[in-house]
Symmetry: C2
Subunit: 363 residues, 2 copies
């Protein structure tokens, strides 16, 4: 079997270039054995938070909290920010999942649904019901559709008193969010940050915290150690309520410092360049095509190819050259391939991927 040199799986994905070195350093420094109440840990936490703030331009009125996964954040958002109702924009499996959690937790939530692969248009935002929370999936990992920034801003203007929570699990650190237009943003580290899985990052402002306090005082179950007030209380001390995934926080800090040195502007430009290279090949191809038909809805970070009967042939061809494509999600496994375009994927790797697809086309 061919050794896989590069994984284009959308997550867990390719490790960021520097991660292995950082792991070796962590072992030399005894990081896995430090106490999560020690000064060393507090220093790591502080550096990680301040780095994230700088990288993503997070204002001071937002706290940054660690959880076990982004799936956990879905649950915590519904428990802490929703009393009765929330509104969900659904166009794939992941935007569906947080909605399902809301229903499971007994909320009267509503959904605005588009078929998988389609994005939302401005007229889809014209709903009238009162809602406490709008849940947006910036990058639908299952289909490769992106939610437009302009639409987020539009929703904020239209519903100024509603909390807006954005799932950017498979797009950060690429997108440049304007935090004035959102109240919460979250991701997990095994995608764009190129780390081993096992850590979610939840960014939330003072409006979210206030809402959680309100719900708690009404007697709702907002969770315990990881409810927003508890997370915030420990966050202020640069600690976490539980013994966290210390190694992952250490590695996230290190990778963020690497990204800051490289420059977020360069990472964003390269992401756009790599996406353009791959989409160009998909558009030119006579065998395969971009799965998302509307160009301005196409994700820059999870690029989905509609491959129909060619799916397994192309997948195998790439694998023979050491390139592991991600399978299509769920029912689209046999007709699509997904290509993660994260900071861990170099320009050269994307150029090679495009070349190999072109070579496959004419083989």
């Amino acid at each position: 079997m061919t050794k896989i040199n590069i994984s284009f799986n959308p997550g867990p994905s390719q490790l960021y270039f520097t991660v292995e070195d950082h792991i070796r350093k962590a072992l030399r420094e005894g990081i896995p054995s430090i106490s999560h109440r020690s000064k060393t840990f507090i220093g790591i936490h502080q550096s990680c938070i301040s780095g994230l703030r700088q990288l993503l331009n997070v204002p001071d009125n937002f706290g940054i909290y660690f959880t076990g996964s982004a799936t956990e954040i879905w649950e915590r958002i519904i428990e802490n920010l929703v009393d009765q109702n929330s509104t969900h924009f659904i166009n794939g499996d992941f935007s569906q999942k947080i909605y399902d959690i809301a229903l499971e937790l007994g909320k009267k939530s509503e959904s605005i649904v588009k078929p998988a692969g389609q994005g939302f248009e401005i007229q889809d935002l014209e709903y009238k019901n009162q809602t406490e929370l709008i849940a947006i999936t910036h990058n639908e990992t299952s289909t490769g559709v992106s939610f437009e920034m302009a639409h987020i801003n539009y929703l904020r203007d239209k519903f100024p008193n509603t909390l807006i929570a954005v799932d950017a699990v498979s797009s950060l650190p690429y997108p440049d969010f304007d935090f004035k237009h959102i109240d919460s943003l979250y991701f997990s580290v095994q995608k764009g940050f190129g780390l081993p899985a096992g850590l979610g990052v939840w960014i939330a402002n003072e409006r979210c915290l206030e809402k959680a306090h309100q719900l708690k005082s009404k007697g709702l179950n907002i969770g315990s150690y990881h409810n927003l007030p508890s997370l915030h209380q420990f966050y202020l001390k640069h600690q976490t309520p539980e013994t966290p995934n210390v190694l992952a926080i250490y590695l996230l800090d290190k990778v963020i410092q690497d990204m800051l040195r490289r420059g977020i502007h360069i990472i964003r430009k390269e992401t756009e360049y790599k996406a353009a290279v791959l989409y160009a090949v998909l558009e030119k191809s006579k065998k395969i095509s971009p799965a998302v038909s509307t160009a301005n809805k196409r994700s820059k970070t999870v690029i989905v190819a509609h491959c129909a009967n060619y799916t397994s042939d192309l997948r195998q061809y790439l694998e023979d050259y050491g390139m592991q494509a991600g399978e299509g999600y769920g029912s689209r496994k046999t007709e699509q391939l997904r290509f993660a375009n994260f900071p861990a994927h170099s320009k050269e790797q994307f150029e090679a991927l495009a070349d190999y697809i072109e070579a496959w086309e004419t083989k």
Copy 2:
């Protein structure tokens, strides 16, 4: 500053001897980039569960589930196994914490409290109130007091219809539980298993699962992705509901295989030997003493020394020789030291520790 060669911190603690090698192997094999829905992951999960079952002698009517931490398991136990009331044996900070979570989640829980450092006597078990769940802390990490196995069995006989959940966070894999007398057992990996923090392991039988289903059908919030029915559904497929800490599950599997090769019987004998060595020195000392006065209540895995005014002097002395003692917990920081006695701590290290304490005594 002296390099710390060995950490006796009760957790996160010293890594198990083989962990660094396993991490290097995981990186070579690309484990952090594998999909959590892949055959490779399913194989790792399967091996880990079956190894744990063998190591701890877990019967087939118990499922084994992964969470982010043992703190998370406290919350999940209260949400999934308690409708109205639970009973908590409290004799330190960690047995207190799950009780606090029960109250925070609105349960009418009761507590049977002993001062820190004291264990429970048979007459303490003679309470009469009906209760749905008895929460026992097998090893109170904050004080070094152990809950006697015979008392667990006594409680089971007395309350056959009550669920019994045992926190063995800082004692496993040492204790040999009889699963006929308990319904749930849990731990986290950064203590006796000598792994980096970020994974909790929750073992629960079919009575727990049934109770969770009951509470859910009554409309209680039992959580979503990590409620017991959801955990169980994925467990049956050798998967997890969310993207888990894949690397930690891989490492846990590897360490369990190492422990099985070494033999759990040998690990248990060595634990008892090492505990005897250290307790003998503490008993003989004129300056310091075992913090737990009753010998049969003393933990074998977290050995606490009452050091009073000598605390910082002894701590510094050991540190100069590369041995990091754990601080006393909370308010006992200035008067106690804690020494973890886990499988990662060798007989030689414990003998050296005892020698150094004796040398310090007469310096």
